[in-house]
Point group: C2
Chain length 340, copies 2
């Protein structure tokens, strides 16, 4: 048997938590974990959508404690390893220690693409705990290639074994992916991963571009279950990459079975590209801006899409939510002038 | 104002007829047509999913006579032109003459990729009636590039002004598209079009590949409403191609409005990539085989996916439905031997 060309890492039980409003049950998690393990997926992630410690008023309370879900998932696996997401500031080091006690074998420490430095201690802890340890650069379209390389080098220097380029807003097109992954391939020694969202219907093409440029970890979710427009659809990805001649190491039919007989059955809504999803991908702004933008648009009587596109141009980042109202007001004033 | 880089042709009201079980109402068609026209789409198609004359016991009866729908659509347009699909053998020349009387301005004459010769008279009639006349090569993945070129030349010799490469099964990957469109570009003088399905989540990437190789007509449907896994999502396509620097000539927000405020409201089911959709794209067999295959799989106690993949390998085409039962029986025999 030839070696796998890459690892497919399934995030249905973590990114999918957003789409499920953090309501996963132990039964759902067990059935999904069991199916992924049987299909030959070696890594999959289980956490609140915003990572360990995400269950809160601000990010949404989980129906079932994530430690219970992680334990249940690990319990179903013969070969697969459970990953957890940790966003420093939301989760803390103790959360990771607890997750390891119940079976987590991999941690992905996630920061905004320009803020890898906040993750030094968490990466170190991951290694100390014997975990497969990953640095996860979110909103990677917002920084120029050189910055992405610089931040990836930081992650590597802290001890990360894999660095991910993460297209959180589903903004990237294949060239954006190729240049980022290629630059990392030339600059760092550790493995490279890629995580896509499908807001522009390009998640699959971007994932192929990542593999062609040298990524050896690629994320997907079953039936695309994930935030916004969802992720690269795992079972479709396995089929496409097999057609392209790669050794996925996956049993396609078994993967389809868990997608269609398990996940599709508990999804709360289909993963379509709606108006909001499209405009987030088009403008490249973070999904947490959406609700504020809709409120501001209504208050000032302007089109929410104009606000989002302008925020994208300004490269607004999380924490700058005040900007939304300024932008909305400016559009309202412009509109008045035109009408006068 | 610079010239458009290509024409986006919307097929929501024709390929979408499959997804709607041919139940379009005049009101739905009027609202969609009006929105497409307002957004700056120059061509869109209105017909039964299987083209003029498709309303029948075999292909499904239309709720409203398609001539009424074509007339209603044309009535809503200031600039846009209504196209009709005609599959010789399903529709006849009189159907086209009637469609022209109620406002059709374009005809797309569709044949299996190896059978352009059955369309000579229909193409000639289209020209005679003053229509923009198109030859539409379906299941274009099933023939080698040289055959596609040969058939396109036939269409051109009959008078077609545009020849389409049609990925009816959603089987193609970007390289398949690039080599076909590039070869046509070098071999024929008329314009080239491309029509995608999203079974492998590659419709958008394939459409970009087509444009890059020289296609000047590209099909899409709003919210991806179409047969199987649906088509390239028109409003997303406009956004992506704009991001890539092309002049689409489209008002993106108005296109999003008709997608999300009109079409999304009347869709009967979301356009997801289900198990059946994926396996059709993976194996490259025609969607009309699906129901027979499911019946044969049940009768012989075998996996429908094995049958479909084998039919794809054999390059089975419409009319060879008997093969399905032969293949199912072979799998059943193989299974028996293993069990013995």
């Amino acid at each position: 048997m030839t070696e796998r060309s890459f690892e497919i890492l399934d995030v249905s039980l973590r990114d999918g938590s957003h789409a499920m409003k953090h309501s996963f049950t132990e039964e759902q998690v067990r059935a999904t974990a069991k199916g992924l393990d049987a299909a030959g997926v070696n890594y999959f992630e289980v956490s609140h959508g915003d990572g360990l410690g995400g269950s809160s008023l601000q990010y949404g309370f989980s129906k079932v404690d994530e430690l219970k879900l992680i334990e249940a998932a690990a319990d179903e696996c013969e070969n697969a390893k459970v990953s957890v997401l940790l966003i420093p500031g939301i989760g803390i080091k103790e959360d990771l220690q607890e997750a390891v006690k119940v079976g987590a074998k991999m941690v992905r420490v996630a920061t905004h693409v320009t803020e890898a430095d906040v993750a030094a201690q968490h990466i170190a802890l991951g290694r100390e705990l014997g975990l497969k340890t990953v640095g996860f650069l979110m909103m990677a379209h917002m920084a120029p290639v050189e910055k992405v390389v610089e931040q990836a080098k930081l992650f590597e220097s802290y001890g990360a074994e894999i660095v991910y380029v993460t297209d959180s807003a589903g903004y990237m097109l294949p060239n954006d992916v190729t240049e980022r992954i290629s630059a990392l391939k030339q600059s760092i020694g550790c493995e490279i991963g890629f995580h896509a969202h499908n807001n522009l219907s390009m998640a699959m093409a971007n994932t192929i571009a990542a593999v062609e440029a040298g990524a050896t970890y690629i994320d997907g979710s079953l039936r695309a279950l994930g935030a916004g427009a969802g992720n690269t659809q795992t079972e479709v990805m396995a089929a496409v990459l097999e057609r392209l001649g790669y050794n996925t190491g996956i049993d396609l039919y078994k993967l389809m079975d868990v997608a269609n007989d398990v996940v599709a059955k508990f999804m709360q809504r289909p993963q379509e590209i709606t108006g909001s999803g499209l405009i987030m991908g088009y403008s490249g702004v973070y999904s947490s801006f959406l609700l504020h933008t809709q409120a501001a648009a209504q208050k000032f009587g302007v089109d929410e899409r104009d606000i989002l596109v302008e925020l994208g141009r300004m490269k607004a980042v999380g924490g700058q939510e005040d900007l939304i109202y300024d932008v909305a007001q400016q559009f309202a004033l412009k509109k008045q002038k035109v009408e006068v």
